[in-house]
Amino acid sequence: MIIVTIIKKTIKLQTNNILKAMRKLFLSLAVILFITTVSTAQIPSVQIKTVDGKPFNTKDIKSDGPIIVDFWATWCKPCVKELNAISDEYEDLVEETGVKIYAVSIDNARTSARVAPFVNTNGWEYEVLLDPNSDFKRAMNVVNVPHVFIFNKKGELVEQHTSYSEGDEEHLYELIRKLAKE
C-alpha cells in the first residue's frame, strides 16, 4: 500500500521537487522504523546452560510455534505453582498449538544442582535452562520471579508479565491459542 502511494506522488512532481519529496519521505520512514523497534524486541544472546549443565546460547531459543520463556527458581513457591498448573495441560497445549516453554531457573550454585531432580520428580516436560549467575535474567530486565515472556511464531515479544495468582494460567492458554492461529 505504502509503495503504491510513493509511485503516484513522484510522477506528479518536477525533478527538484521529486528529490525534495523523496528525501523527506525516506527520512521520515527511516526515523519511524528506527523509533518503533520496541515492539519487535527479540531475545538477547547470553551464554547459559541446559538443565544438564551443557552450554546453551539463548539465541537458540527457537520454535515453529509460539514460545514462552518463564523465569523461576526452586525456592520460589508461586513459580513452582504456576509451572505445576501448566504442566497438567502442557501435552495437550503442545499438540494443539505447537507452543514451546523454556523454563529458566535462576537458582545459583547453592541450589542449581537440585534443579534436574526437582524437574524430573515433578514430571515437567519443559525445556529447562540454568542461569546460575542471573546473566539472562539481567539481560531480560527481570526484577522478581516469576516473570513470563510470550513470543509469537516470528519470535517477536508479544506480552510479558510478572507474578502468579491461581487462575492466571487461563489467560496464558488463551493468548497461546490466539498466537498459534496467526
Partner: protein, 544 residues
C-alpha cells in the same frame, strides 16, 4: 551535483534501514524498582532522622545489531534500614558497552561474572540484600572452536560508590564431546574446566611481609550419563594474609562434589563440600560482604518458609565441611496413596561441621598472626555447627484444593554464630502447613500455618498467614509471627504485616504495613527478599 549525491546517500541509507532484518534494529529495554519505607519505630527513626528510607534503581539497556550498551541509575536517599549507610547518595555506578559476534564477546565497563561454582570468582548483584560486587574493566568471552569456551577479565571491584583493587581472571571450559565431535549421543558427556584468578593489592608498610599478588587456581570436571550427573571442583589459593584469617600465611583449599540421579517421578541429590581459609577479597582489610571476589555456595539447605529460616546458617569461608542430600519421589496419580493427581514426597538432610585445626608446632598458637596459622587434616571433623532433617509432602486433593506439609528438625550451634540471644545449641522442631483453596476461576485463598517448637533461646513461635488473590490483578495478605513461648512475658513479640497490591503485566505495586523480620517473603504472587522494617512500605517494580 552535491545535492544529488547527498540525496543518493540518504536514499541508500533509508533503503538499507528498510531492508535490514528486525534483529539489527535498535531496541531499548529496562526496568525500574522502588522501595520506600516510612519508619514508625524509635530505633529506625534514630538511624534515619529523615524518617524515610528509599532505594530506587533503574536499568536501561540498548541493543543495536552486535552492540549493546546500558547503564543503571541507583538512588539511596537515604538507604533503607538493613542497608549499609555507605550506600547513601545517588549516581550511575553501572555502565557498559558490549560487542557480540558468533565467537567473541567483548565488554568494557561494568559487568558480572562467575567461574565454575563461584568458589574462586563470583561477582553478582542481589539488590534486595544490598549485595553488589560488580567488576569494572574489561571482560572477554571467546568460543574459538566448538566445545571450547574461554573467559578472561582484568578489572577493579565495586564497593558502594567506588571501584578499587585489581583482579585478573582466566577461565576455560572444554566440552569433550563437542570438541571431538562425538556423534553417538548415547556416550557419557564429559566437561573439563580450569580457572586462574589473581588479585593485586599494594603490600603497604607493614611489619609483616605481605604478598602483593595473590594467586588462586582450580579445576573442575563433570560427567553426565543417562540420568546421572557427577561433578566436582577443587580450588587452591596461595598465602593470603588478611583480617579474615588474622594475617596468617596458610594456603586455602576448597572442594565441592555434586552427584545427582533423576528420572521421571524420582530424584536423588547429594553434595559434599569442604572449605579451608577461602575468604578471597580485593582488599585484605575488608570484612563483611565488602570486596569479596568469590562466593562459595552454602552447604546448608535454603529455607523458603519463615520459621524454618529463624536460625539461618550461612557459609563459613574460613573453614567448614558438610554435606546435604535429598530424595524426592512422586507417587503416581490414580494409585491408592497417590490420589487423583499424585503425591510428592521429599526427604532431605544437611549437616555442617567446623574443620579441625591443630597448631603447627608447640610454641605457636592456632591462628597466631604472622605465622602459617594452623594445620588441618582434610578428613578430620571439628565442632558440630548445624543439622537439619526434613520431610515434605505435597498433594493436590481436587481441582480446588491442594496443600503441602513440612516437618523439620534443626540443630543450630548458637555458641559460635550468635543468631539467637541465649543458649549454646538450639534444638527446634518446625511444622509448616501451606494450603490453597480455589474458590472459583479467578479467586483463591491460601492459608499458611507454621510452628517452631524449641526450649532454648526465646522459646516457641507460631505463625499464620492468609493470602487472598483475584486473578490477574489483585492480592491481599495478612500475617503474624508470634513469639508466644518466650519465658519473658513482655518479650512475646508479634511480627505482623498487612499488604495489598496490584499487578498488571509487568507493573507491580504493593503497600505493606507492619513490623517485619528480614527474609524471603513469598506473598502477592512473587518471592522477594525483604529487609527488616517497622512502618509503612511502598514497593513498585516494572519492566519495559
Amino acid at each position: 551535483m552535491q545535492k544529488i549525491i547527498f540525496n543518493l546517500i540518504l536514499l541508500t541509507f533509508s533503503i538499507s534501514v528498510l531492508a535490514q532484518e528486525p534483529a539489527t534494529k535498535g531496541v531499548l529495554s529496562g526496568n525500574l524498582q522502588f522501595d520506600g519505607t516510612y519508619y514508625t519505630d524509635t530505633l529506625s527513626q534514630s538511624q534515619r532522622p529523615e524518617s524515610f528510607g528509599m532505594n530506587a534503581y533503574a536499568n536501561f539497556n540498548y541493543t543495536y545489531g552486535k552492540f549493546s550498551a546500558g547503564l543503571r541509575f541507583e538512588s539511596y536517599t537515604p538507604p533503607l534500614m538493613g542497608y549499609d549507610p555507605k550506600y547513601r547518595g545517588t549516581g550511575i555506578p553501572y555502565k557498559y558497552l558490549t560487542y557480540r559476534s558468533n565467537e567473541l564477546e567483548f565488554t568494557v565497563g561494568d559487568f558480572y561474572e562467575q567461574f565454575g561454582n563461584g568458589m574462586l570468582l563470583r561477582s553478582y548483584e542481589e539488590k534486595m540484600l544490598g549485595y553488589d560486587n560488580a567488576f569494572e574493566g574489561v571482560q572477554i568471552k571467546y568460543n574459538p572452536f566448538q566445545g571450547i569456551y574461554i573467559k578472561g577479565l582484568v578489572a577493579k571491584q565495586r564497593n558502594y560508590w567506588e571501584y578499587t583493587g585489581l583482579v585478573r581472571g582466566l577461565d576455560a571450559e572444554l566440552i569433550i564431546n563437542d570438541m571431538f565431535k562425538f556423534k553417538n549421543t548415547e556416550l557419557p558427556y564429559f566437561t573439563l574446566g580450569g580457572s586462574f584468578v589473581s588479585k593485586y593489592q599494594d603490600p603497604q608498610h607493614s611489619s609483616l611481609n605481605l604478598p602483593g599478588n595473590v594467586a588462586s587456581g582450580g579445576g573442575r570436571a563433570s560427567i553426565l550419563y543417562k540420568g546421572f550427573n557427577l561433578s566436582g571442583e577443587y580450588d587452591y589459593k596461595i598465602n593470603d594474609p588478611s583480617s579474615d584469617n588474622n594475617f596468617t600465611y596458610k594456603e586455602g583449599e576448597a572442594l565441592l562434589i555434586n552427584a545427582t540421579y533423576s528420572k521421571k517421578g524420582f530424584g536423588v541429590f547429594f553434595s559434599a563440600k569442604r572449605l579451608d581459609n577461602m575468604y578471597f577479597r580485593s582488599d585484605r582489610n575488608a570484612s563483611g560482604t565488602n570486596y569479596l571476589i568469590n562466593n562459595p555456595p552454602a552447604i546448608a539447605q535454603e529455607h523458603t518458609y519463615a520459621l524454618p529460616a529463624m536460625y539461618p546458617f550461612a557459609t563459613q569461608a574460613n573453614g567448614e565441611m558438610g554435606f546435604q542430600w535429598q530424595v524426592s519421589y512422586k507417587i503416581k496419580k490414580k494409585s491408592l496413596l497417590g490420589g487423583k493427581y499424585g503425591t510428592k514426597i521429599t526427604v532431605s538432610c544437611s549437616k555442617v561441621y567446623d574443620i579441625k585445626r591443630d597448631s603447627i608446632n608447640d610454641y605457636t598458637a592456632i591462628g597466631e598472626k604472622g605465622t602459617n596459622g594452623y594445620q588441618s587434616d582434610f578428613f578430620a571433623i571439628g565442632d558440630h555447627w548445624y543439622t537439619d532433617f526434613n520431610v515434605k509432602i505435597h498433594k493436590k486433593f481436587s481441582k480446588k484444593f491442594k496443600g503441602s506439609l513440612l516437618q523439620q528438625y534443626q540443630e543450630f550451634n548458637n555458641n559460635t554464630f550468635h543468631v539467637g540471644t541465649y543458649h549454646d545449641m538450639i534444638y527446634s522442631s518446625i511444622t509448616v502447613a501451606d494450603m490453597t483453596y480455589k474458590i472459583n476461576k479467578s479467586n483463591a485463598i491460601r492459608l499458611e500455618l507454621e510452628h517452631l517448637y524449641t526450649e532454648q533461646d526465646k522459646g516457641s513461635w507460631a505463625m499464620a498467614m492468609v493470602e487472598y488473590t483475584v486473578s490477574p490483578h489483585w492480592f491481599f495478605v495478612v500475617w503474624d509471627q508470634w513469639n508466644y513461648g518466650n519465658e519473658i512475658v513482655n518479650d512475646r513479640e508479634h511480627f505482623y504485616n498487612f499488604s495489598f497490591g496490584y499487578t498488571r503485566k509487568t507493573n507491580r505495586i504493593q503497600l505493606s504495613y507492619g513490623k517485619q523480620r528480614e527474609g524471603v517473603v513469598c506473598a502477592g504472587g512473587v518471592c522477594r527478599y525483604v529487609p527488616a522494617f517497622e512502618g509503612l512500605m511502598l514497593s513498585i517494580t516494572s519492566t519495559f
